[in-house]
Amino acid sequence: MSKKTLIPIGPYHPLQEEPELFKLYCDGEIVKDIKWETGYNHRGIEKLSESKTYEQVFFLVERVCGICSTSHPFAFANAVEEIAGVEITDRAKYIRTIIGELERIHSHLLWVGLAGHFLGYNTVFMWAWKYREPVLDLFEMITGNRNSYAMFKVGGVRRDIENNKMDAIRKAMSDLRKKLDLLTGAVMDDPVIHARTKGVGILTKQDIIDYAAVGPTARASGVAIDVRMDDPYAAYPLVNWKVITAETGDVFAKAEVRLLEMFESVTIIEQCIDKLEKLKEGEITVKVKEIPEGIGTGRAEAPRGEVFHCVVSDGSNSPARHKIRAPSYVNIATFRKSCIGQTIADATISLAAVDPCYCCTERMAAVYDVSTGKKIMNARELIESSEKSTREQREKLINRK
């Protein structure tokens, strides 16, 4: 056997947002084998969930992932509501859908930016993240948070989207559509991006079926699966939209699917807003007295693919068992198919093409001055400062002409 060079990417590497270790065994420039190590941030969330009440679990599962922080509460709510046999109000359905789609837009923009960064094409990175910012501002206006929105509960949502906010959302969506046009054109017509991503990291239809990959990763290989269409939940059956697919299965196809999906998300949000305005404000929850004994399976289409939650209830006020399957769990495993045989430079973008998410967020409570060790702000002051900024943000967006 010829001698191979080991090139580690990780566990802590500036290219990756989160800790994991890819061991690339290379012969010259070509990747011959690849191994993956994880568990650096395993937090035992499934076990932790068994010690929390159903209301508390929402805040816990929101922290499974920092980027798609609403897809886990979405799937969990679907699972619990299946056990309890609850039908939520139309207004709650539309609000849930709006939050889910806004999240898809900001997550896809984040990925487009990072993909540009991985390719060494930082203009795309700057553009995509600049256009992502107004979406986060909308989140702050609607929920009070730029991320981890705390919107979901059993039987509905925690906050309403009042009618005076609709114009601000509508305006943001029409602005965003123009910017997405610009960005899509820039990415899809760029010869450098074509050269770096076409024919790279190909996953065939059979690979997708073998690894049971989901989301844009599957759709880019021509497997048209999307939970929103196949097993519709919330307001998805009440609005018109289409599933985006591509056939080639390379990195370019994955970018194409994500870019075009954002336009669908904008369309969905616009329809939801129109319908929301006609409904009575405030009807956002139904009362759920208890969760009976049983097993519930809920799923939601996160930006990265199908999130799956299985909740087993023993009739008490906390889950007896809670299994969470994030989409990256099945998508990351495809790296053996997409990276082996590629050059090292292409392996990084092939790894990034599934939009891997290793699920970590950290919580900050106090800010210290590094040189003196003195506390600058405590938790209460931080919260007050954040609330003040949200109020200002809200006024700015609502009063914008």
Partner: protein
């Protein structure tokens, strides 16, 4: 193929292996089967009925160790749970990873966290706690404090 046809055909083919069938709604069904036949059952679902393996959830209960294999028929939005109950003392079941790669990691994880043995697994190493967790201590078992 709709949900009823899938379940009826399954019942016809594996009538002697089925212990219980629960159809909750047109999109959710659960079938309890004998664990010995899990490979031929999964092979039928994966290759013949063309269902997608979503994931498996393992539990430690009074009955012993239970695994729900979740399969999805995306064209009709069906989630089909194949439920098996394993031995209390020595939980083991045949691995599905030689048939499809999708179950490789989850079987390693169930082995690591609950101590269920997957026979003929291609590589039953630890997935998440390699080198920093004691051997033979299973954190997702009920007796673990």
């Amino acid at each position: 193929m709709d949900t009823n046809t899938i379940i009826e055909q399954f019942k016809k083919r594996f009538s002697s292996e089925i212990l219980e069938v629960t159809v909750k709604s047109p999109k959710r069904a659960s079938i309890t089967v004998r664990p010995e036949k899990i490979v031929s059952i999964s092979e039928y679902l994966y290759k013949k009925a063309e269902l997608r393996f979503i994931i498996a959830s393992a539990l430690h209960t009074r009955k012993g160790f239970e695994i729900h294999y979740h399969f999805s028929k995306d064209a009709v939005g069906l989630i089909l749970n194949i439920h098996v109950i394993l031995d209390k003392i020595n939980p083991q079941i045949e691995s599905l990873s030689n048939m499809f790669n999708a179950s490789n990691w989850i079987e390693r994880e169930m082995h690591e966290l609950l101590g269920i043995d997957f026979i003929n697994h291609p590589n039953q190493e630890k997935l998440i706690s390699e080198g920093n967790w004691a051997e033979g201590v299973y954190p997702y078992r009920k007796e673990f404090k």
